[in-house]
């Protein structure tokens, strides 16, 4: 296929994916808004007022970037894992496999769909947060850059999970037992400076820490981690996972018997 045809195919997959999650907006867009409202009320207003300042910001201001990032991560991931697993499970992935679409276009299309949902949910959560705190973005370009890269990274991770998943349990194991602990321990609710040296070092092995702190730097201008280190690591992770996902698709792992 030529470039124009590849663009048509890419756009088709993205529009199909966006329409899919918009069709079931009650399941995809409303729950994160409700959950984040509860976080803002409980951790921000009720408990946060007793915690006091963190890194020079009141507690609700401090956790807002982390909570936005948490929503982006979970929604980008779950969109792709659910979409691609369903396509495998019900067979309509064959519509793409039989067609001449290059594997890169299939992969980028699904990633685009995951990013669209992650970013849309991020925007919704940001709007909700405005009811609880004034939000000024210190470094807009860094904020947008980290948001896009993180969303892309977890969309790819969701794709890899879907490739290996053989049943519905397999698409919930990673989010429950890996993603949630990494996110909660990734500095969403606290600064790692509060931890002992040992646990600070352990925390540095958590990739989510770099994304949350990079995003926090973009919004608040403060971070436990150098934002350029965050950027660099996210790019390395993204390139690594993209290569793995592409090879899996090319070999037909989980899609071709």
């Amino acid at each position: 296929m030529n470039t124009q045809q590849n663009l048509v195919a890419f756009k088709t997959i993205i529009v199909k994916e966006v329409m899919r999650f918009l069709r079931i907006w009650v399941q995809t867009l409303v729950p994160p808004a409700i959950m984040m409202t509860l976080y803002f009320v409980i951790f921000g207003n009720l408990i946060g007022s007793r915690i006091g300042d963190m890194d020079g910001f009141n507690y609700i201001e401090y956790i807002i970037p982390g909570l936005i990032m948490m929503s982006v991560i979970t929604n980008s991931y779950s969109n792709v894992v659910a979409a691609f697993f369903n396509a495998k499970m019900y067979g309509h992935v064959q519509e793409m496999l039989i067609s001449p679409i290059p594997n890169h276009v299939i992969l980028l299309g699904y990633i685009g769909g995951g990013m669209a949902r992650g970013i849309l949910v991020g925007v919704i959560v940001t709007i909700v947060s405005l009811f609880f705190s004034d939000l000024t973005i210190k470094h807009p370009l860094i904020t947008i850059g980290i948001l896009l890269m993180t969303s892309m990274l977890f969309s790819i991770a969701g794709f890899i999970n879907a490739v290996y998943a053989k049943n519905f349990d397999d698409i919930s194991i990673v989010p429950t037992f890996v993603l949630t602990p990494l996110t909660y321990l990734g500095g969403v609710f606290y600064s790692i400076n509060l931890l002992s040296d040992f646990w600070q070092t352990v925390s540095l092995a958590n990739p989510v820490l770099y994304m949350v702190n990079g995003f926090r730097y973009g919004i608040l201008g403060e971070s436990d981690i150098n934002p350029w280190v965050s950027f660099g690591l996210i790019i390395v992770f993204t390139a690594g996972l993209y290569t793995v996902a592409y090879q899996l698709l090319k070999k037909g792992t989980g899609t071709r018997s």
Binding site: Q4, K16, G91, Q94, M96, I98, S99, P100
Partner: protein, 320 residues
């Protein structure tokens, strides 16, 4: 002339020891209406899956209109359309959206796709259902939707894997008519089916796969000409007390007013009627006992069993 499909030594092994395809060779000419027959598990769907890039091959080569599926994948896939055995569209999407998405996967712009989708849906009597979710369609409509989807990019080679399974006779006949028109217009068609009269009435050439091997590949006419005996069921005017013996004709009584007659194909039907008339047997109506192709199919597929069970070999040889 470049064949529509050329398969050389195609092998597929599952798990290292299950040989689904044992090195099949097949050639389908451009413009052909080709039947690919075989019992369940014979390897038909595996072969189709490999041709359509849904199954990884173990060895062998496939060319679609001269494009090698491995080295010139995109060109080969552009020529192919598949109507699979199982419904495999997203049932939550509207009918029109399914076709437009499929066109998009082939890089066809939306405006062109809309025109083609309208034409196909009208032709297949689904236009009124274009905005319905696919899960609300009846079984026959879902089959027709899969045909429309497979044709949206105007493939030169259309593969239908049991397209009429579970479809009532009226819809089946309208699908036969549509496929025949499509073939006449130049589309090469490969059909797998369990309705052998379907293959016999539409297909020009035929291959039979059994246990992962092509046991026969020839023209339909050539295959059918190999039948040496035909069996008819005769409905009689009066009840028959005693079964007469007529030379050259093997008769079996089903009930008082019906007979089965085996007649060698070298003899005319007049010979049978003359013999029956001599014994004052008057025939009111007659029909073929079984589909002719079915008899051949069974004899070819069971050849392997002949070697394993010599006691039934004789009876099968008589038939073929």
């Amino acid at each position: 002339m470049i064949p529509a499909l050329k398969i050389n030594n195609l092998k597929k092994t599952y798990g290292g020891n299950i040989h689904a395809l044992k090195g099949i060779d097949l050639e389908v000419e451009k413009g052909d209406f080709f039947a690919l027959l075989g019992a369940n598990g014979a390897g038909k769907s595996t072969a189709i899956g490999i041709i359509c890039s849904l199954v990884n091959k173990t060895a062998g080569d496939i060319e679609v209109f001269g494009h090698n599926l491995e080295t010139d994948r995109e060109k080969a896939q552009e020529c192919l359309g598949l109507v699979p055995q199982e419904f495999n569209f997203n049932v939550w999407e509207p009918v029109l959206e399914i076709l437009l998405n499929q066109a998009g996967f082939y890089g066809i712009d939306r405006k062109t796709a809309l025109g083609r989708a309208e034409e196909l849906l009208k032709h297949l009597e689904l236009w009124d259902k274009r905005n319905e979710q696919a899960n609300k369609l009846s079984g026959g409509m879902k089959r027709r939707l899969m045909i429309a989807r497979a044709l949206i990019h105007k493939p030169k080679l259309l593969i239908l894997d049991e397209p009429t399974a579970g479809v009532d006779i009226e819809i089946r006949r309208s699908m036969w008519k549509f496929l025949t028109q499509l073939n006449t217009a130049g589309t090469t068609i490969i059909l797998t089916t369990h309705y052998l009269e379907e293959a016999e009435s539409m297909c020009k050439n035929i291959a039979i796969i059994n246990k992962g091997e092509v046991v026969e590949s020839t023209s339909m006419q050539n295959l059918l000409s190999r039948l040496s005996i035909e069996t008819f069921v005769l409905d009689l005017k009066e009840p028959l007390d005693t079964l007469p013996e007529i030379e050259g004709l093997s008769l079996r009584q089903i009930d008082a007013k019906s007979l089965e007659a085996d007649i060698d194909k070298s003899r005319s039907l007049n010979f049978m009627f003359e013999g029956l008339s001599k014994h004052n047997i008057r025939v009111m109506s007659m029909r073929n006992k079984t589909n002719r192709l079915e008899e051949l199919f069974i004899s070819l597929v069971e050849k392997d069993q002949i070697n394993e069970t010599p006691d039934i070999a004789e009876s099968i040889e008589v038939q073929s």
